[in-house]
């Protein structure tokens, strides 16, 4: 009864809908993730990322749609659980168990897997092996959570905002762990609102907003759709209009964001001097000018007119 291609898919989702009262958290979402792929779900807080992931993890029922994980549905729950690893967005493991005791307990739930010491070494917690969980730092706890997700040697790994709130060093460490996992040909789904994380770890990403996928593809492909590889942001006083921006050479995209103009350009050395000259000709001051390499953040702003992170 299964489609022959299903076996090669880590995740297949069709028409997923989840409502909380009047709020539609997930609004008709389709998703295909191939075996061996690392896939990122990006979006601002409240976009429906966690809800989607928890439905995929079999922890939340959906209101409509079909979900197939590793060729099975959640009707087959326990067998499927043997093959996936999960790190929830936030879990406080028992305070007064040690790292090793915690991982050992999680290992006991799986029929097969790695030894607790192997995964503890994998996430770099060897010297905290016998420390109580309550004594660990935020980054160490997060690595412990990933160790618990990896101890069953999963074929598919779910990570919900694995590095939110971590310092840069802990974040890089976790990235190494995920890269290793991916290097073994396993599949991985992660949600994040850090663009750098998605660009670094994911083969493909989907940008989610208001419970829908608004763009999907490799990070390079999505950035390429902006039509340029550089972004110029500026503010002028008195302000200029869109016609002015369009008259500049080499501009492929224009958006307005927080009282600043944002231009996607092919080459900075063509556009920036022209911008400076044109403003001087009008007698306007350049109040503020920044440029950066186009990123997924720019893709999101171009698509929605909003920043991904609430604080941006």
């Amino acid at each position: 009864m299964a489609h022959p291609n299903d076996d090669s898919a880590a995740v297949r989702v069709r028409g997923l809908v989840k409502r909380y009262g009047d709020l539609v958290a997930v609004n008709g979402l389709d998703l295909d993730i191939a075996n061996g792929e690392c896939f990122g779900l990006l979006g601002p807080n409240g976009a429906g990322k966690t809800t989607t992931v928890e439905i995929l993890e079999g922890l939340l029922p959906c209101d409509a749609g079909d979900v197939t994980i590793l060729g099975r549905t959640w009707r087959d729950g326990r067998k499927l659980r043997q093959r996936i690893g999960i790190a929830l967005q936030e879990t406080h493991l028992a305070d007064r168990l040690t790292v090793h005791e915690t991982v050992t307990m999680f290992r006991s739930f799986f029929d097969r897997g790695r030894t607790p010491d192997q995964v503890i070494a994998l996430v770099g917690l060897e010297d905290k092996r016998d420390a109580w969980v309550v004594k660990l730092s935020g980054g160490q706890r997060q690595r412990l959570a990933i160790a618990c997700a990896l101890v069953g040697d999963p074929e598919l790994l779910f990570l919900d905002e694995p590095t939110t709130g971590l310092d840069p060093q802990s974040r890089r460490r976790l990235w190494d762990v995920v890269s290793d996992f991916r290097g073994q040909g396993r599949s991985c789904i992660l949600t994040t609102h850090y663009m750098e994380e998605a660009e670094r770890l994911c083969d493909r990403v989907a940008i989610i907003d208001h419970g829908r996928i608004i763009a999907q593809g490799t990070p390079t492909h999505l950035i390429g759709q902006l039509g340029g590889t550089q972004v110029v942001e500026f503010r002028a006083s008195p302000d200029v209009d869109e016609v002015f921006c369009r008259s500049l050479p080499g501009v492929s995209g224009i958006s307005r964001f927080q009282q600043r103009w944002r231009l996607t350009v092919v080459a900075l050395n063509r556009t920036v001097p022209a911008l400076v000259d044109a403003l001087r000709d009008r007698g306007a001051d350049l109040a503020d000018l920044t440029t950066h390499q186009a990123s997924l953040e720019d893709v999101f702003i171009a698509l929605t007119g909003r920043a991904l992170r609430g604080d941006a």
């Binding site: 922890l59 326990r78 659980r81 999960i86 406080h92 007064r96 307990m105 006991s108 799986f110």
Partner: protein
Amino acid sequence: MSPLGHLILARLREFYREPAALFWTYGFPTLLALALGLAFRGGDGRATPIAVIEGPFASERAAVLAQDPGLSVRTVSPRDVDSLFLGGGIVLAVGADPALEYRFDDTHPESEAVRRRVDDHLQRAAGRIDPLPTRDRPVTAPGSRYIDFLIPGLIGMNIMSSSMWGIGYTIVEARKRRLLKRLAATPMRHGDFLLSFILARLIFLATEVAILLAFAVLVFDVVVQGSWLWIAALSVAGAMAFAGLAMLAASRTQSTETVSGLMNLIMLPMWVLSGVFFASSHFPDWMQPMIKPLPLTLLNDAMRAVINEGATSAQVALPFAVLSVGAALTRVVAVRVFRWN
């Protein structure tokens, strides 16, 4: 080791690594038994303080009463009497008039007894002849002291509170920390998780009851009249009944504050009504049908009957059965409505 074994191990470690849990489970009931046992120990030879109010008969009456070593007599001026009563300095005052007047708190059984005793002394000294000669032979019957009454009640209360807090609070906290959800995301059998609480509870229960009983036997010479097997069986049935109630209270509750309130609501009436510190027969008759079926009343009455009266199996089989059925029913419902997130 099996997943269930690991879960039980986690329960045990979480417990013995938490000093507060250790204190409330083992230290507190023992201290309570010690304090109450010392305060209400009978036959300690301490004389009962009474007063004779100053007046023409005072010295004569005081001399008569002073011959009783069980009384400590002092002569006081009329205006000091009230303040002595208030401070608990005396339990009875003998009036100064020719006709005997006794002042005492008639709601207090001890005062009533002292009144009769003092009256006998004074009447006999005044020439009353009792038709029959009397002789007192004090008996401290095993099982009749206050500490004997108290210990089974404390065991019952401890079984109740440690089962309720140890299970109810811990489960809700795990839910609040999303640990339940995390466990539900593994292939762990859901039944194993709840079973680990029950089995760990039985291990704690054995030590809890043993420590309190050993303390009672060694320090207060409490004598266990009935079968130790019945003490164990009643302890298990009681613990399971309260474990079921705790799981029910915790099955969907999201906050530890709510579950604490809920459990206190369940436990508080039983602390007062179920005969922990004083017999539930003190409550009026119309309340008895409500008090008798409370799980703690069933447990305390049965435990008291076994420890103090050596009750037979036939006498405690019914409360045992009721507690066991209650344990099974609450558990079935709790498992059915249980939420993992």
